[in-house]
């Protein structure tokens, strides 16, 4: 089958690990070159050296909540890739806490990374995306941005904000043929998830929220991202596509 992202230049934030990393892998499998903006790129650099992917991946160390670093990182990505056809905003942080025990600085940080950071990347990438005929932005929101889960007020609010920002941006950019969509994963089995939840009973309880009674895999989330980046989705814009084994029924 023909590759679906041949010669596309894709910027992926949070591409150093988890869902973002799998998006990097699948983009490359589909023929794209990728710039990764992440605060931790050491592991990715190691993988590049081991797999001779130096021509396919440009890792750039960026703290997404830092505006200056984002502006410089996006510019560097576009220069190295010679333009941008797509952006995947996968960088995100989580916070488990009751609202009354939440540290207010944490609220600001969650919003700064999950919402403001993602939108700042879009803002800086826009001039480059405007020059492409295949432009697509995919924001990784969360099922928690569509239907709340306990002890995650800041996280749910940031991800719901990202869904609405996605739709509003889709409305504004539609006539420039730049598509903007969100993917809303349910609980996904990543290293980070397992570090937070090592207890099997807790994992079973979380899986039970989903009709399929299991966690998602990074590969299942990335497959939806690739579909939305590709021309197969050329009429799809402003959607929030939940990939969650049946919880949000969105």
């Amino acid at each position: 089958m023909a590759k679906r992202l041949t010669n596309r230049k894709i910027l992926i934030t949070g591409g150093g690990a988890g869902i973002g990393r799998e998006c990097v892998n699948q983009c490359i499998d589909e023929g794209a070159t990728v710039a990764v903006l992440d605060q931790d790129i050491d592991d990715l650099k190691g993988a590049i050296e081991n797999n001779s992917l130096a021509n396919s991946i440009v890792p750039i160390k960026v703290e997404i909540s830092n505006s200056e670093q984002v502006a410089m990182g996006v510019e560097q990505a576009a220069l190295k890739l010679k333009g941008l056809d797509g952006v995947v905003n996968s960088a995100g942080i989580d916070l488990f806490t009751s609202f009354d025990e939440m540290n207010w600085d944490d609220w600001n940080l969650i919003l700064a990374v999950n919402l403001s950071g993602a939108m700042h990347v879009c803002y800086q990438a826009l001039p480059y995306l405007s020059s492409s005929i295949h432009s697509s932005i995919v924001n990784i929101s969360s099922g928690a941005g569509l239907l709340p889960i306990p002890d995650r007020v800041a996280y749910c609010a940031s991800k719901a904000g990202l869904v609405m920002a996605t739709k509003a941006l889709a409305l504004d950019l539609g006539n420039r043929s730049i598509r903007v969509n969100a993917v809303c994963p349910g609980a996904v089995d990543t290293g980070l998830f397992r570090r937070h939840l090592s207890d099997q009973g807790q994992v079973r309880n979380i899986a039970a929220r989903y009709a399929m009674n299991r966690l998602g895999t990074v590969s299942e989330i990335a497959a939806a991202v690739i579909f939305l980046l590709s021309d197969e989705a050329s009429l799809i814009t402003g959607t929030a596509l939940a990939v969650d084994g049946g919880r949000t029924f969105h």
């Binding site: 739709k167 539609g174 399929m212 009674n213 497959a223 579909f227 814009t237 949000t248 969105h250």
Partner: protein, 249 residues
Amino acid sequence: MSQNKVALVTGSANGIGKACALNLARSGLDLILVDVEKDTLHALCENITSEGFSATTISGDCRDTNVLDEVFNIAEQEFDGVDILVNNVGRSARELASAFVESRPETWVSVLEVSLITTLQITHRAVPKMMNKGWGRIINISSDAALVGDAGLADYAAAKSGLLGFTRVLARELALHDITVNAICPGAIRTRAHDHLDPSILERVKAEIPMNRVGEPEDVANLVTFLSSDKANYITGQTIAVNGGRHMT
């Protein structure tokens, strides 16, 4: 018996159904196609076989239980049941569109029967085999009429909204059998109906769409093929719009 997965597409002679049939055939599935338009369906079948793929056609009305008996006899005897069901058959009765207060009950009953009840009837027959096999895909073609509430189409919007509720319940009930159930809401898609429209109406429709164009049947078929694949294993109970941003879900 072929080892390929089998997709049943209803209302498949034209438009979105036809594009789904072609796309699914090219992705390596065997097809069972049903439509009332015998000659058009036959031409599509020839088109598919000329590309080296396989399709079995049944011409008839999906409201007729004898037709459904024939479809599922073939599905059981010539194939090992239906793996992927694309419920595309539907009718808007757009030529009879009117304000609800002026509409005729006979029209609603007909629209609900074609656009909602047939999907329940066909799905009811297809699901037991999917449950036995522990794998299945059901894709219900709804409409953005269900989301937007276009004036003059109360019966059609009711039928297509009914499909959305049906999709969610069935997704919950079948999730543990690895059967996913999703709905697609196409917006304005270029079909035969557009050929007879005044160009000014099409311009007005386009003006409501952020991407400022009507879609092609292939735009919907691409999503149907994605949802039919193993890539979409974890997507279930969703309503996905393909409408250039006309109404955002």
